[in-house]
Symmetry: C2
Subunit: 323 residues, 2 copies
């Protein structure tokens, strides 16, 4: 089974290799007719660009590096990161390239510079980053970076529509008659935290109910603490809207230990629809976070050198027992 090259495609389409290359990469001026012929040939011959050759000629490489930008290395073992890597690996496989996982460390700027210089790196997928990290992306790397999560305009962003998801959850809770809804948000350095709070505030303001926010790290322990803090500060609380399932499960645990019934006394919602959300206590009401689709889209875009400003993926509410 001899490998199909761009020359084969060009010959089949009766154009030059240059034109075939332009069509495949989607750059430069090409007549509609030539484009059609080339695409047909690609389809027919089953052409797949050779990543090595591409890397060699273009000067920048093939590997996709999933770069974890959190200040701590713990998140490298995080299930969320694992899902991103896994989905990216699957998407990369179809293009004949591989994925690597790296922690940006304590000096992200430096590590990003190294990434930009590495001839083997075709693209960088940013995960769990701070605004700081986003700003340290070197200019010459920007074209090869995609952020999994919110971003400013400089770096393209692939993200769940968390604002809509959180808003829908808050509305759901209000629709069931709750009036004292506390938002449990993430740490301040996480860009998503701000966004979640904004969505929550918009809905609660419109509904004329009070706005109450507590902040916590994204662990079950912190979720438990947050639930207790909320009940202490606002004894009348009848709903807890958490920014993540992890937080929510922690909160439910604390409530159960304190003899508070879920959802009868306090409704609880999470976010992400992780596998354990289904297994937790009464079943956690949450909103989906299509991590796999997001990571796959970002990877494909990166490898295709297609540039998109931002792309958001819908989040839908999953009703279970907890709210």
């Amino acid at each position: 089974m001899p490998t199909v090259t761009l020359d084969d495609v060009a010959a089949a389409a009766r154009v030059s290799r240059s034109t075939a290359s332009r069509v495949v990469r989607g750059t430069g001026p090409v007549s509609a007719e030539a484009r059609r012929a080339v695409l047909a040939a690609v389809e027919h011959l089953g052409y797949v660009p050779h990543p090595g050759a591409r890397a060699l000629a273009s000067g920048h490489g093939e590997r996709v590096v999933v770069a974890v930008g959190s200040p701590s290395a713990d998140l490298l073992a995080d299930p969320y990161v694992a899902r991103v890597v896994s989905a990216a690996s699957r998407a990369a496989d179809t293009q004949g390239v591989g994925v690597a996982l790296r922690w940006l460390g304590l000096d992200p700027r430096d590590e990003l510079r190294r990434l930009a210089r590495d001839p083997g790196v075709g693209g960088v997928l940013l995960v769990d980053y701070t605004a700081d990290v986003l700003a340290s992306v070197p200019r010459d790397l920007v074209a090869r970076v995609a952020a999994i999560g919110p971003a400013d305009g400089r770096v393209p962003s692939y993200d769940v529509d968390a604002a809509a998801g959180i808003a829908a959850l808050v509305e759901h809770v209000l629709a069931t008659g709750r009036r004292d809804v506390v938002m449990v948000t993430g740490p301040g350095w996480l860009p998503g935290s701000r966004r979640a709070v904004d969505a929550y505030e918009a809905v609660t303001r419109a509904a004329g109910v009070p706005r109450r926010v507590v902040s916590a790290d994204l662990t079950t322990g912190a979720g438990a603490d947050a639930a207790r803090e909320a009940r202490r500060r606002w004894p009348g609380v009848d709903a807890l809207v958490a920014m993540s399932d992890t937080l929510a499960v922690g909160a439910m645990r604390a409530l159960a230990e304190d003899g508070v019934r879920v959802p009868d006394d306090v409704a609880v919602t999470g976010f992400d629809d992780q596998p354990f959300a289904e297994q937790a206590g009464p079943g956690l009401t949450t909103a989906t976070h299509p991590v796999e689709r997001i990571a796959a889209a970002a990877t494909t875009a990166l490898l295709g050198r297609r540039r998109e400003e931002r792309r958001t993926f819908p989040s839908v509410v999953v009703r279970r027992g907890s709210a």
Copy 2:
């Protein structure tokens, strides 16, 4: 910063590019003097071979493919697979290579042949495979394959010492006075199932208590069903030893719904020590499964072309509330 090429190295060492290449790859006859000069130049200039150029010229790349051998594609999204991919990606990154994820599909033999032929593939990590898949590894691929899990002698195996882990759990349960211990094992096609049962049988036989086994798919639903089946068939059951945390959590759920108290009426143990094991009901007693370490070791061995027959990693019991 211009990239350092092999020509630069050759020039600095006052030899030809050919000789420099021989030294770098460690092949072919080279005088001691030339070798020394080249290595010094490599060191001094900070030379790193361009993986793309290498792949292009040599015809074969070095990507590591994580191949999922289960009959169903669902397991591609499995957290276990995600952990393997994630750890492999991290290990691969240190060697400057990438990892791809692929499902072997309904005809694993065919897909494995394709992998063997693919010039971009440096190694294959087998995951979630049947004995069948193991046997279909083509001869010329064997040297580039490692199995994450049990294996026959043909393919090197990197695996947790599940037998010891299960045995320790059964012993722990017996030590707390249980006498009617049911093993909940996985589906027959999974090589690990057999092993778990063997370990269970050895310990129960030695202790002179009855041997009782039910089999189930590795889902919470199946775990719930298995728990009910066990109680129906053996009403006096006072302990459930499951082959995985997922199974155990499902079992606990069914028991709770049926009004059976854990651990007072029935003790439950899992295996894997997954994150949710801590959060489940009374906290799941389980045994560790160092997936990350296993995957990392297998990847490193594969890339270093080091061949090991098999390597097992210890599993230790984690005591929580359920047993």
